[in-house]
Symmetry: C2
Subunit: 191 residues, 2 copies
DNA sequence: ACAAAATAAATGAATGTTCATTCATTTATT
DNA sequence: AATAAATGAATGAACATTCATTTATTTTGT
């Protein structure tokens, strides 16, 4: 029961941030949406900031888990790369609110103390694989940051485009096309 | 003279957004920073929202101009692609505040009415070139959005990484490596 | 060229609203 | 009966915007 109310509050925040944005988020409506009194929020969270940080932590954990579940030791690097990218994409397709929240959280770095690395760290498992791939001479010997830019950056943008209905990641062919493009961007070209 | 004060106000907003973020931006401190009275802002702008939108418009214009200046009709597609990407990167290296502002603006879509396409439209000249490249069978026949993701997304992320001191785009070699990687990602592979 | 009058620009204290947080009181659980 | 959980009205701080007043600039008349 104790978890229920806490969860309901976090869920409200997610919904409201998605609907009206960080700017218009206020405690009264969070409480209303969650079906509790305003004061109740303070039984579970120190304040607004704490609430936001807790939600981010929750989402980051869920996301990480989804990605890690896609990884299978015995599979080839390419297969795992595709599987993990796909897990990331599918996670956000299933939870568009999560994406919107993470974006807004990441770009309001002054409001909360958390460092800016966090958002990048969401794809940590993938970067580890990349390092491995470099030693196998499968992945281009690119600067870490360039790899990060190619993978993380394009992933973020394609999701955003999907949510803006500029593309449709529900179609498997679109997803495949994207994964392939990223793969080709980071792997050594065979001549 | 009339432009001076208006400009001073816009400059203050830029500085303050960069220093304390959208969240803590308030009219009093904008006025203070610009060396004018609070009421004066309302002589030049309808209100806070108008102020923010005006600043975005100004930055977008400057940015567009910088990119377009890099384009030269008679040059090959690859040369222009590199030149324009470089113009975009150099613009933000020279104006880190502009980048930070655009990021925050883009990810607070609920605060302002502007549509989310705007940020993508900043690279419009590049996408036009891509369309041209596709007909020449130089650029991969990828979905528009996938191209957008590869170029826009990775550009954004690499700038962010530079500003977070995770990479150093002041080194020409790093920039070149990045441009090459993006170029290879979008061009047809020769076997 | 000068002053007076008219117009424009700028000021910043006052206003009213929004909103996070508190806490005395009530309701539920042990 | 004792303890824990929840409530929501009250508080006070923050802050965007207004507007009566002041200051600067321009125009007009002599």
């Amino acid at each position: 029961m104790i978890r229920n109310k806490r969860n309901a509050i976090l869920k409200s925040v997610l919904k409201l941030v998605n609907r009206q944005g960080f700017y218009h988020l206020n405690m009264k409506s969070i409480a209303q949406e969650a079906g509790v009194a305003a004061g109740t929020i303070y039984l579970y969270f120190k304040g607004k900031e704490d609430l936001i940080n807790a939600l981010y932590a929750m989402i980051a954990e869920e996301f990480n888990q989804a990605i890690l579940e896609a990884y299978e030791e015995e599979r080839a690097l390419q297969a795992n790369f595709f599987a993990m990218l796909d897990a990331a994409v599918m996670f956000y397709l299933k939870n568009p609110d999560h994406f919107s929240f993470v974006e807004q959280y990441t770009y309001a770095p002054f409001l909360f103390k958390e460092n800016q690395d966090m958002n990048f760290s969401l794809l940590l498992p993938i970067y580890k694989m990349m390092a491995q791939g470099k030693t196998l001479r499968l992945i281009k010997p690119l600067d870490e940051s360039v790899l990060l830019a190619l993978i993380h950056g394009s992933l973020n943008t394609i999701i955003k485009l999907h949510l803006a209905r500029k593309t449709n990641l529900r179609k498997e062919s679109t997803r495949k096309e994207f994964y392939n493009a990223v793969w080709e961007a980071v792997t050594v070209t065979k001549k």
